[in-house]
Amino acid sequence: MTRSTVSGAAAASRSRRSRALGRLVFLGPGLTYLIVLLLIPLALVLSYTLFRRGRFGGVVYEATGENFTRLFDPLYLDVILGSLRLATIATVIALLVGYPTAYLIAMLPRKWKTVALVAIVLPFWTNFLVRIYAWIVLLSGPGLVNSTLGELGLGPFEFLYNQGTIVTGLVYSYLPLMVLPLYAAIEKLDPQLREASANLGARPARTFVSVTLPLTLPGVVTGCLFVFVPSFGNFIIPELLGGGRSIMVGNLIRDQFLKARDWPFGSTLALALIAVLVVLLLLQAWSARRA
């Protein structure tokens, strides 16, 4: 009786020790890495929002709320709202183009399905900057589109360096991220549901609105998020395709660190960026729960 209790306790302590060891071995390295190179840097950015800028970069450790007041300066507010607008337009266009495409891919025979999907993802595998560069070649004054139009006796037009080009660049860069989750959602649909709806006399449009769309809503939301997030914080596309004539919040953040050397305000802008994204993620979680 006593003996068995002792050995039971020893076994329990051994298994506890082995569990602790397991935790240390498996979680220790990764967690340490994430704390040092992710959480501490983020905590620093967060804490910088409360301090004054140093004259030559860095911060002066004097508490201030002025970075947050500055956020509501019409100048910066306009840039933030403008970025929201451009990212939203890009997302909507990507959805309108991506949905029918994903729908059709899901209906293709198995063999062609894979080919079509790979073909959607493939451009995503080439360098991002190269893809942006391709649009400069295509659209610039003496570029291909203009010379083709010129042969038809039209133009030349100035396609580059406006907000339309920025939106084109955003859609082009992130369209695959829209199509994939949409495809996954549509693929899961039970075709019988649609047939049932059709058999009950619903027209295709009605079937789509009341059956297909609600059931694929999580895919829609995910796809929109995948396009919106990288679009909203982008600074390369506005710079290269916008000709410096428009800026987005990403440019603003980059400039605070590289030009103005105002780290606290740059951090505050970054926090605003994260805040917008957190709201969107919460919306997504909410929509996923409802669905």
Partner: protein, 374 residues
């Protein structure tokens, strides 16, 4: 249940917060002591140091030094030279002021940026005894307003900013900054201006007759108005490819630094507008963090050699502030290159751009306002 989850979470959160504070406290102290140290301490350098044991890493604009420079330096100084490139002042400033060690020994930056770096305590004062070739400089090049007496920087090239344009595509050649800001019908949407903030403001500042170093809010507000009005007629803001655009005919009139205007090409010409312009200087500075300061000085001295410095004038077509070097530039080349014809006296008519300290924020804001306006 919920309590136990919190008790597990709390230590982790506290740990992260504590670490962040500890790290930021260390960093803070270091930053505080570094700031007032500007120009105070200057390293003891050994004039007889064995340069073959040192290496020099420089950061410079693409095409700004000869491709063979590393071999030449190796031959002459026995020092390994590593050349890295930056595309704009702002890119390299971002790296240099980040607090990290960039591994650079010598950086090429424009005068006002050298001034800002010095005030931030990031530069090693120039040791004139290690740079005897400083004697080759024009006397005027030793009295430039951002760094009188070449205390922390050595000028490499200098010039001015003007309008570079297509003679065949414009009906009348431009003479005033207003021609760029309010272009004739044939040039609408075919004009570029620069993006770097001080040069972005320059055309409007000069058109209004202000100083390039203005700190007045009222004047800057007027400048902003003028720049916003000009934006409607602009193709793009461009610091790097305006010459290409002009050659292709995508643009017909651009704001340009003199040497980057391809004025040697047929149908392309350069003019300094009648309202006047700036005097910019691209300089070489030695970084305080450099571990090869003797070799860095030897490198700068080598660049000031008339043959080497003359290369810059003959190849990048910028004037160099080196009398001996300018004397050996080919006369034919000089005759057809406006930027090489400027004398120091003429250049000094341009207003030298200096760093405005806290007030440089005003120009950053101006640039953001101009870019944000649709």
């Amino acid at each position: 249940m919920s309590r136990s989850r919190y008790s597990r979470r709390l230590p982790a959160a506290a740990l992260v917060a504590g670490l962040a504070l500890a790290v930021s406290a260390c960093g803070g102290e270091a930053a505080d002591t570094a700031a007032p140290a500007a120009s105070a301490s200057s390293a003891q350098l050994d004039p007889n140091a064995d340069l073959s044991k040192q290496s020099v890493t420089i950061s410079v604009w693409d095409g700004y030094t000869p491709k063979e420079l590393p071999q030449q330096v190796k031959e002459k100084l026995k020092t390994e030279l590593k050349v890295t490139l930056h595309d704009t002042n702002e890119t390299i400033m971002g790296k240099l002021t980040s607090g990290t060690d960039t591994g650079l020994d010598v950086a090429f930056v424009s005068g006002q940026y050298a001034q800002a770096l010095n005030e931030a305590g990031l530069l090693e004062p120039i040791h004139p005894e290690l740079v005897p070739n400083l004697a080759n400089l024009f006397p005027e090049a030793k009295e430039l307003s951002y760094d009188k007496g070449n205390v922390f920087s050595v000028p490499y090239t200098w010039g001015t900013t003007g309008i570079c344009y297509r003679t065949d595509l414009l009906k009348t050649p431009p003479t005033s900054w207003n021609d760029l800001l309010d272009p004739p019908a044939e040039a609408k949407k075919k004009v570029t201006m620069m993006t770097t903030e001080r040069w972005l403001a320059l055309p409007a500042i000069k058109a209004l007759g202000y100083s390039v170093n203005t700190r007045s809010d009222e004047e800057i507000a007027k400048v902003k108005e003028k720049l916003l009005a000009a934006k409607a007629n602009l193709l793009a803001y461009d610091d790097t490819t305006f010459g290409e655009r002009l050659k292709k005919g995508e643009a017909v009139m651009v704001e340009a630094w003199d040497g980057w205007c391809p004025a040697g090409e047929k149908n392309i010409d350069f003019v300094v507008p009648k309202e006047g312009s700036d005097l910019w200087v691209d300089t070489m500075v030695v970084l305080k963090s450099s571990k090869n300061k003797e070799a860095a000085h030897a490198f700068i001295n080598y660049i000031l050699d008339p043959q080497v410095h003359g290369w810059a004038a003959s190849n990048i077509l910028y004037s160099v502030p080196n009398k001996a070097a300018m004397d050996i530039v080919d006369a034919d080349l000089k005759a057809k290159t406006p930027s090489l014809q400027m004398t120091p006296a003429q250049l000094l008519q341009g207003e030298s751009i200096i760093d405005l300290g806290e007030d440089s924020q005003k120009f950053t804001r101006l640039a953001t306002e101009v870019a944000a306006q649709q």
